[in-house]
Amino acid sequence: MNLQTNELIDDYLLGRLSPPDAEAFEQQVKANPELANELAIQNDIINGISNTRRAALKARLNNLEIPKGNWFTNNATWVGTSAGVIVLAILAFLYQNNTSTTVQTAETPQIPQKEQNQTAKEGASKTNPSLPQETLASSSPAQEAPTKKGNVTKPAFKKEVRNKEVSSNEANSDLSDPAVTKFEDETVLASKKGSGEEKEVEATKPVAKTAQTLNAETITNSNQYTYHYKRNETRLTLYGNFSEKAYEVLEISGKSGTNYFMFHNGNYFSLASTDGEIRSLTPLTDEATIKKLANLRKRK
């Protein structure tokens, strides 16, 4: 397909053609199977790009802390019960984390003043159009935001480190890029649950000699990076609030090396190496990969 046809397909799929032009294009498609096939592929590609973005937005919302409250206001018994459960949950959470936590109670969220003063430059981010801007000119978030590293005396969740052989008959997703999962002849070396307080994900007793230890840390109060990660070799930095819901890092070793994935809040994420670059955590959307990771999690 030439450039002109590609642009025509784009314009058609993005609804930028006038009704007569769109109709004329549809006539062309009907008469040209090759063009029809190309249109179908391009439609799926655009949907794929859009769905990836939707999944990222959804993951962002899913990761937000919602003030716990008695939203079942029409049922007095339930309100009493839920309040009791919430108190217990908060106490358990504080006990488990052994760290200071602010429990939000306000019903209407407040946007910090700092954020409200910077609407003019909202769209000017060079790294991500929708990220807060106030930290762009300052130091890196890793420098400005204190990490929780070293503050924790006790892991918040029970550690699970197991070794498990996985059948080599697992279907293989056969793309060569390291970011794409390969499951054939893989071994789950370690899986660790964390809560944002967890520091070390130790791939203890790996089956393969090449297995690595992943050192994880979380940065919870970066203004700019709210659900992001950075991985350089075996150093993983997670940006965002991981204290409410446990995250789990899956270390999978195979012929192609060691791949890391994360399970958090019902979604799976690839923790492919970013070479020091901070990237947004985007949930995997490929159903086959998700299914395989879910199976591996169950079997570990």
């Binding site: 990836t52 962002r60 159009p129 793309l175 794409v180």
Partner: protein, 180 residues
Amino acid sequence: MDDQEILLRLKKRDERALDYLYKKHYKMMLNMVVKNSGTEDEAKDIFQDALIVFWEKATGDKDFVLSAKISTYLYSICQNLWRKELDRKARNSGDMVDKGEVVDYDREERVNIINKCIATLNESCRQILTLYYFEKMTMGEIAEIMGFANADTAKTKKYKCKQELDKTVKQHYQASDFLD
């Protein structure tokens, strides 16, 4: 923050405005679904989807103006999505299974390949393509956000990124075809 200001922020793709709406209307929207036979998880899912629909409307349609309160829009979107979900559940339950539905395995395979190829794109290309295809930005806007010299540079970059994605998709799609 009033509705007009929120809309302005959404139009500028400020995700924090989305966070604000989520927190502000969470209870009301969840209540609606839960009172209509939904679970809390389903309600959360529906509300998140509704917010994304509203985001797409606000960012993608330059002429979009509020003719009602944002909460009214969100409530209405939630209701529609939940109705569709209930219909889907009804279709998939018991005797109402749609036996005539044909699963297009070829397309499923293609979609899987496309998702994997998107995941392998470099961050810059993924951003450019997202800004163009999902956020529906003009080349001028993309150039400003990405720090390119002008709209022509953005257009060239977008073209190269798209070409790279198309090429990878087709390579893998054809390879998979051949293996079949």
